[in-house]
C-alpha cells in the first residue's frame, strides 16, 4: 500500500486518545441533567427534551445530507421572526409521466407544497417525487411507512447530477488545457496540469502497466477518467458544499457496472476458459467451479460498488456526527474537542478520498489484467 504509516498511526493514536474524553463528557452532561432534575424537575425535563430534539435534528440532517436532493441547498437560517430562509438554488426536475414534465424544483417549496406541471401534481416525500391527485393531495403511506403513491420515471438534474456535471466540466477544462500546454511548450506541462501530470504518469506506470501488461493502452482512458472522477467527487464531498455523490449507491453502482462491462467485453478466450472450464482440474470439479467463477465475476464489481459507497458514507456520517456533537455538548471542552477530532478526521477523509479513488482504479486495472492474461501458465496446470 502507498499509505505512509506514520500519519495514520498518529491519527489513530489521536482518535484513541480523544475517545475516552468524549465518552466521559457524555455521561457528565447527563449527570448534570440529573442534578438539575433533583433541583427543578420541570427545567430538567425541558432540557432533556430539547437535547433529544437536537439529536434527532442532527440525525435527520445527516440523513438528509447523505441523500440526493432536487435543489442545491447551501444553508438555511431562521430570522428574528422565526421564519426559515433557505439559501441555494433550484435545479430542473425532469419526469416522464404521460409525456415529458419539466419544471423547476423551486415549485416544491422545499417539500412544503405540491408542484403542478401540465395538470399533474407531484409532491416530495423522503427525498423522492410521488404523484398526488391534487394540489392539496398528500402522499399516503402503508403500515411500514412506505409511500403507496405512483412514482413517475424521474430523470431530474438532481444535486448529484449537477455536481457530476460540474466535476466533468472541471476535468474537461483541466485536462484539455494540460493537453494543449504540451503542444504549446514543447512537451513540457504548464499551469495547473503540472500538478496532475505525475498522477497521470503514476496511474500509467504503477497501476496500468504492472496490472494489465502490454495491452494497457486501451484501458488508460477509462482508468484515468475513473481515478480523477472519483477523486474529485470525493474531495467535493468534503467541502462545505455538502455534496455526497460517491456515497450514493447509484453512482458507485454505475461506476462498477462500467468496470464490469469493460472487463466482460474485452476479455480474451483464456479468461472465459478459466471461468467455464478451469484447466488442470478434474471434470466434475470443472462443473462445480464454473458457477462459482461466474459468480465471482459479478462479486468483484459488486465489491467495488460497496467498498466505495461504504467508505464515503461512513466518512460523512462520522464527520457530521462529530460536528453535531459540538451542538450537543454546548461547553467549551467538549465542543473544542469535537472540533479537534473533526479536524483530524477531515484530514483522514482527505486521505481516504484519494485512497478510495486509487483502490477503485487499482482493482479495475487488476480485473482488466485478469481479462487480458495470456495462457502462458497453462503448462503448469
Amino acid at each position: 500500500m502507498v499509505i505512509s504509516k506514520k500519519p495514520l498511526h498518529f491519527i489513530v493514536a489521536a482518535l484513541v486518545a480523544f475517545l475516552p474524553l468524549v465518552t466521559v463528557a457524555n455521561p457528565e452532561s447527563d449527570s448534570t441533567a440529573v442534578a438539575h432534575n433533583s433541583v427543578t424537575t420541570e427545567t430538567a425535563a425541558h432540557h432533556e427534551e430539547e437535547s433529544k430534539d437536537l439529536k434527532t435534528e442532527i440525525k435527520e440532517f445527516i440523513n438528509h445530507h447523505l441523500q440526493d436532493s432536487y435543489d442545491f441547498h447551501l444553508f438555511s437560517y431562521e430570522d428574528d421572526a422565526k421564519v426559515e430562509h433557505h439559501i441555494g438554488f433550484p435545479l430542473p426536475v425532469i419526469l416522464w409521466d404521460n409525456g415529458l414534465q419539466l419544471f423547476s424544483s423551486s415549485k416544491f417549496h422545499h417539500g412544503e407544497s405540491a408542484a403542478e406541471s401540465n395538470g399533474n401534481y407531484y409532491r416530495l416525500f423522503h427525498g423522492k417525487i410521488y404523484k398526488v391527485s391534487s394540489a392539496e393531495g398528500e402522499v399516503t403511506v402503508d403500515e411500514k411507512h412506505h409511500a403507496t403513491n405512483e412514482k413517475p420515471l424521474d430523470f431530474s438534474i438532481t444535486k448529484n447530477v449537477f455536481m457530476m456535471l460540474v466535476v466533468s466540466l472541471i476535468m474537461f477544462f483541466l485536462f484539455t488545457n494540460l493537453a494543449k500546454s504540451y503542444a504549446k511548450n514543447g512537451g513540457i506541462a504548464k499551469g495547473a496540469g503540472r500538478f496532475f501530470e505525475p498522477i497521470i504518469l503514476y496511474i500509467r506506470d504503477d497501476i496500468a502497466i504492472p496490472n494489465i501488461g502490454k495491452n494497457y493502452k486501451k484501458y488508460m482512458s477509462y482508468l484515468l477518467t475513473i481515478f480523477f472522477f472519483v477523486w474529485f467527487l470525493n474531495i467535493f464531498g468534503l467541502t462545505p458544499l455538502g455534496v455526497n455523490v460517491t456515497g450514493n449507491i447509484a453512482i458507485t453502482g454505475g461506476l462498477a457496472l462500467v468496470t464490469y462491462l469493460i472487463t466482460t467485453f474485452t476479455a480474451n478466450k483464456n479468461y472465459w476458459g478459466h471461468i467455464f472450464w478451469m484447466p488442470g482440474v478434474p471434470a466434475p470439479m470443472k462443473l462445480v467451479l464454473a458457477p462459482i467463477e461466474l459468480l465471482g465475476t459479478i462479486i468483484k464489481p459488486f465489491s467495488l460498488m460497496i467498498r466505495l459507497y461504504a467508505n464515503i458514507v461512513a466518512g460523512h456520517v462520522v464527520l457530521m456526527s462529530i460536528i453535531g456533537l459540538m451542538f450537543i455538548f454546548k461547553n467549551w471542552i467538549g465542543s473544542s474537542l469535537s472540533f479537534v477530532l473533526a479536524f483530524a478526521l477531515s484530514l483522514l477523509e482527505i486521505l481516504v478520498a484519494a485512497l478510495q479513488a486509487y483502490i477503485f482504479t487499482m482493482l479495475s486495472a487488476l480485473y482488466f489484467g485478469a481479462a487480458n492474461e495470456e495462457h502462458h501458465h497453462d503448462d503448469h496446470h
Binding site: 430523470f155 448529484n160 466533468s168 485536462f175 504540451y182 503542444a183 449507491i249 447509484a250 462500467v258
Partner: protein, 166 residues
Amino acid sequence: MEKLLEQFSLGLFVWMLVIFIALIFLLKKFAWKPILDAVNEREEGIKNALLSAENAKKEMQNLKADNEKLLAEARLERDSMIKEAREIKEKMINDAKTEAQVAGQKMIEQAKAAIESEKNTAMAELKAHVSTLSLDIAEKLLKDELSNKEFQTKLVEKMLGDVKLN
C-alpha cells in the same frame, strides 16, 4: 439493505452512466490521448537523447583510444627511427673508419713501394756513380802509378819476391 435499495435512484443511475461514459470519450479524444502521446514523445526524446549521449561518449572514448594508439605508434616509430639513425650513424662511422684504414694502408703500401723503387733507383744510380768514380779513381791511380816506373819495377820485383818465397 432495504434502505439501500430505496435510496437507489434509477434516474441518477442513468444520468451517471450518460455523463460518465460521455466524459470518458470526450477526455479520451481531447485530453488523455494528446497527454499520453506528448508524454510518450517526451520520454522517447529523453531516451533518444540519453542514448545518443551515451553513443557520443563511446565514440569519444573510441576516438581517445585511437588517438592514444596513434600516439603510441608514433612514439614507437620515433624510437625505432632514432634507433635506426643511431645504427646508421655507427655504421657510417665504422665504415668510414675501415675505409680510412684501408686507404691509409694502401697509401702506406704505395709509399713503401715508391720508397723501395726510389731506393732501388737511387742505389742503382749510386752503384753506377760509385763504379764510375772508382774507375776514375782507379784510372787516375793507375795513371799515376804507371807513370812512376821505378816504383813499378820495385813493386813487381817485391811481388815476384813474395811468390818465390811460396
